[in-house]
Symmetry: C2
């Protein structure tokens, strides 16, 4: 009888849905929250249509060191296009990007970065851009781990997204990164459909070209989905306040605040990068994914802080 | 045995899913399209994740005569707020709106309309605005049919949306109307979740008020989801080209063009208001929902044109 029951256990869904999480406060805060909002007898029950969970991408779902993946893409692309644009050599920011002079590029600040994005991300249809991204991801390699970027996603977070979806949640990405930089691969890698990706965007224009209707990406900024922009982007795209938010940096602070200020059971969670050996260790001093104000705000707001080194059994999915 | 089988028929899904549609070219164009994209053996098979259908709202899903419902809302609201805003009397456009002088208001054009929207739609949180809309819809009545506006939705289109969803489609609203004017009731009335509503919007800003994070609607335009804006709004929100589009006016022309220009099986459909007795008859000369260029474009593009009078058995859902 015992062996018969034990055979049934996994099929009955009693297997651990978060096997890459060590037992501890972080894991149990997730499980407790999910139990509260999904139990129809609980005062905190939330109907499935309102079980919205939002995830930052860079540093929360995949690696953001030594630089944001989208910046690595822009640098590769500006170098690739440079031979047909000799005029870029006269522009100090673009010249720095072409030469890989990151110090000069960083000194140009947001304005310089925007200039780089405009020359590398505009002038084509969304379909064409997504193909360019797909082709790049197929051949690009992370400088330290020597793997495609799409394999450098966090296994514990993949399990968490799947666990939430199995419990009736809809999982959204809400990222400062480009919305059309993420959409070509978000379904395959995260199980997140294009419509469930919220991100920064450039202006897109409808045009008739040779009698055919097309959309063309313009060299002009449309929306920055970062910091105080995240709740705005969520409201615009989703139209409901999430009940759970997952981030890792100060760019996620307002998303965490707005999500957890709602009534009823809420979950706010910060991934703290504490594992220089298996991944990276950084927080208050980092130029990519700085975690300072949000880390200070966590205790008073009751947010879970994941200690990557101690809370995660593995970092990346098994090879293959 | 026969009576036993006939009892099974409806349960087996063999009942007509579009009972309010008369047999004819319009109905069969819908059924043929759905069969083609859902049959795994068909060359035109489309996987469920890509079965995106977009619906205009005003004049396609609900009545838009004698004026857009949102305009009726704005006029009621400007009158309601007028006593606390004596300064509005000095503004010719707002004074016309308060006095119900639609001729002067119309002469003020888009600029006048925008002014009216700004004073009636901004200055509160999205939640507060949605409550204002909900309260208004509960008490407002259509001047001719003497019913709540949310009951003046087209029964054949409700059946069509449900039929598409049963066949694995996701149904989106893509309207020139305000995104947050539609979201409070779109799920209840159409079965369309807030995240599946695309519409025009004003700027929203994140603020900390008394230590609490809130979003506040600003008196500034963010996006006009009409005409050439519709494919842009679809691309921004959904991130996939739809395979079916439903509209009724020239404001839907580019959405229909962009949808049906895609590869594979596509369905474009225009609701032509030909029934002055049961609803309204209007097209090329109407100031609300003008249908002129899109009607001319229909034959060459293979779009289905619904003749409301002859194709629809009933217009509105049964009372109660």
């Amino acid at each position: 009888m015992l062996s018969f029951l034990s055979l049934l256990l996994p099929a009955a869904g009693l297997a651990d849905p978060l096997p890459s999480w060590n037992d501890g406060a972080a894991k149990s805060s997730i499980e407790t929250f999910v139990a509260r909002v999904t139990d129809p007898a609980s005062a905190d029950f939330v109907r499935p249509e309102e079980r919205i969970a939002v995830f930052d991408n860079d540093g929360t779902l995949w690696v953001e060191q030594p630089m944001y993946t989208q910046l690595a893409f822009a640098l590769d692309r500006v170098r690739e296009l440079a031979p047909s644009h000799p005029e870029w050599q006269a522009n100090p920011t673009l010249k720095a990007a072409i030469d890989g002079d990151l110090k000069t590029l960083a000194a140009a600040g947001d304005k310089g970065l925007l200039e780089l994005v405009m020359v590398t991300h505009a002038g084509m249809t969304p379909d064409e851009f997504q193909q360019i991204v797909t082709d790049w991801l197929a051949r690009a390699e992370h400088p330290r781990f020597r793997k495609p970027y799409t394999e450098l996603v966090y296994q514990p977070m993949l399990e968490l997204m799947a666990y939430l979806r199995e419990n009736g949640f809809t999982t959204y990405i809400v990222s400062g990164g480009g919305i059309e930089f993420m959409r070509p691969w978000s379904e395959k890698v995260y199980g997140v459909l294009p419509a469930q990706v919220v991100g920064s965007s450039i202006v897109t224009k409808f045009e008739m070209v040779d009698g055919k209707p097309v959309l063309v990406r313009q060299p002009a900024l449309n929306f920055i989905d970062d910091g105080a922009g995240k709740p705005v982007g969520i409201n615009q795209h989703i139209g409901q306040r999430p009940i759970a938010a997952f981030g890792n940096s100060d760019g996620d602070l307002q998303m965490l605040e707005w999500t957890t200020a709602g009534e009823g059971a809420r979950l706010g969670l910060i991934v703290h990068h504490t594992d220089g050996e298996r991944e990276y260790a950084y927080d208050r001093q980092s130029s990519f994914g700085r975690l300072d104000k949000a880390l200070d705000a966590a205790p008073a707001n009751g947010w879970t802080v994941v200690d990557m080194k101690n809370d995660w059994k593995t970092i990346f999915p098994p090879a293959g």
